[in-house]
Point group: C2
Chain length 330, copies 2
DNA sequence: GTGAAAGCGCTAACAG
DNA sequence: CTGTTAGCGCTTTCAC
């Protein structure tokens, strides 16, 4: 039965007192007499009054809602970030509104403008691949100028002046590669990558190369380059088949690690032994202990981003923007 | 520079016309003169006016926001559902607010009440495991009685009278098992499960057993039961190692399929050959073609749920609740 | 202790 | 064509 919602006004009318009295009674203000409070509370419960938080948000000018924009929810990294954000916000009485950009500027822009038009108190953003490649940040810059609190994570850029959360991609890649060399005794490692790539993937590659450089007397490396994902996979497959000296693969991202796993699994029937290291948040990685996974602590990233944002919102301070680096572990 | 936001009132004042004229001009109402429209539009753009959609939502009494409640975002099934919901809503001018229950009634209830208190026009819910096990649906029932449009998916129950979206778990499990038997020539299939389980897992198991029953002359099956996930994995490992006649594994959910993959991968080095079938949405499944995955079309489920909900919202009709079944494919 | 009244930013019915 | 007015449901002075 879709009865009319109970409102402050309806309670006031029924109890023949004023709206403001009801409001104060419900928020347990000391101004109101005990007797009145009891009456109001009872009536409210009996008619299961639920305050219209939308109205109250409107009145107060803040919504207790945060917007999150991520490129892709099927990538477990972003899913974990979302989890971190959501749980932190939830613990602090905030709601989360999510938008998935699919790596397109257009959708990013569209949702950004809807959200920022009064719906959220602040935003947590991982910019779309398209925006990063074209270096088009105006749609975000505009919001910052406008005074909207924003925290950027994962893919960041210097043009945008705001709080940021990042992983030390360079160091992480270096460490994992070193592990591959020293602990797994790899002598010949392959890496796959595309030419025109994102900033953080570049950093990862540099970390990898730095490690190879450091141990250049003991280890060789091969770089497979192709701009189509399919091409990368095929070339890797061919190489693994033709060159039995390869004993290590380094994956720059989710996809390349998974590819490597599948390909080497097929080969292992023939008794070769290849170690894999790389950036991967897939569930799979938990189930396969032989893998060296770089744990980006995605949930932690989400949590810290949310924390930073709420701090910013509360301390109306517009200076001293922070960039926090979240540690990784292997 | 956090300048004051431009509002209808500020435009009106600057241009020395009334607020309602501005409002109409901006919504391109035919009532307003071309000249005035131009002035308003120009001024608005110059001061980059963005309408406060929050206020307008409040005024209109609808928020164009939908709430989604899922147990776990790391499960790719739910992530895909979210994707489907989000993209459908986005195409129809709706926003999405997400809450993750972690399978606990408490959090589910809490978020339900926040959301439904004016923040959303409707809800899409997959009830928490705890709620399903304890058959506690009052927190949801209350909302339905209250008139909030709700669509349930995946885990549903008869007590709740509303629109629903489900997969034909029984049929899907039957088909996949049959495939294992007929196409992969499996003769000895293992299944792992817990005793006290969820409705849809039960249906899956029944589908599996029906198939075994049908082909009972050609195939044997073993059922491993343990109420701890770890126990299941260990027992499965032991069985696979000790009994080489086993040539098939059926996984009732994400986790059991992944377990099976890892365990059999280890064994395959020793040249045995085991086929795996089951319910799995993990990325992994895409990379391993030998797997028989039951594709639940999660994105489709999300899309249909959103569609059903928007229909319900628009057609204030409270009768004729639908239950839609989304087909699966192998 | 309680209440009257203003107003958040916008929309819409109704006058002119 | 343009303006006036009355709220949406709630919070918050300020007066009684």
């Amino acid at each position: 039965m879709p009865t009319k919602r109970t409102t402050l006004a309806s309670i006031a009318q029924a109890l023949e007192i004023s709206v403001s009295t009801v409001s104060k009674a419900l928020s347990n203000s000391p101004e109101i007499g005990v007797e009145t409070k009891k009456r109001v509370l009872e009536y409210a419960k009996a008619n299961n009054y639920t305050p219209n938080s939308f109205a109250s948000s409107f009145r107060k000018g803040t919504t207790s809602t945060i917007g999150l924009i991520i490129p892709n929810i099927l990538n477990p990294f972003y899913a974990k970030v979302l989890l971190g954000v959501e749980s932190y916000l939830d613990d602090h009485g905030y709601k989360l509104i999510t938008s998935i950009s699919n790596d397109f500027i257009e959708k990013e822009t569209k949702n950004l403008s809807v959200m920022s038009s009064g719906f959220v108190d602040g935003l947590i953003i991982c910019v779309s691949k398209e925006a990063e490649e074209k270096k088009e940040y105006d749609h975000i810059k505009q919001l910052i100028d406008n005074g909207t609190p924003i925290v950027l994570f994962d893919r960041i850029c210097d043009e945008l002046v705001c709080d940021k959360i990042i992983t030390d991609d360079y160091q992480a890649a270096f460490d994992a590669t070193e592990y591959l060399i020293k602990e797994r005794n790899c002598k010949h490692i392959v890496i796959t990558c595309k030419t025109n790539t994102l900033q953080h993937l570049d950093l990862r590659r540099q970390g990898f190369e730095k490690a190879i450089e450091k141990y250049k007397d003991e280890v060789k490396c091969k770089v497979i380059i192709d701009d189509r994902s399919k091409g990368l996979k095929q070339k890797l497959a061919a190489l693994l088949k033709s060159d039995p000296t390869i004993d290590g693969v380094f994956g720059l991202n989710e996809k390349s690690v998974l590819n490597a796993i599948v390909l080497t699994n097929k080969l292992q029937k023939k008794n070769c032994n290849i170690s894999i290291a790389g950036f991967c948040n897939d569930l799979q990685s938990k189930y396969d202990s032989s893998l060296i996974v770089i744990n980006q602590n995605a949930k932690e990233i989400g949590k810290e981003a949310a924390k930073l944002l709420l701090q910013r919102i509360k301390s109306k301070d517009t200076t001293a923007f922070q960039t926090k680096t979240i540690a990784v572990d292997l």
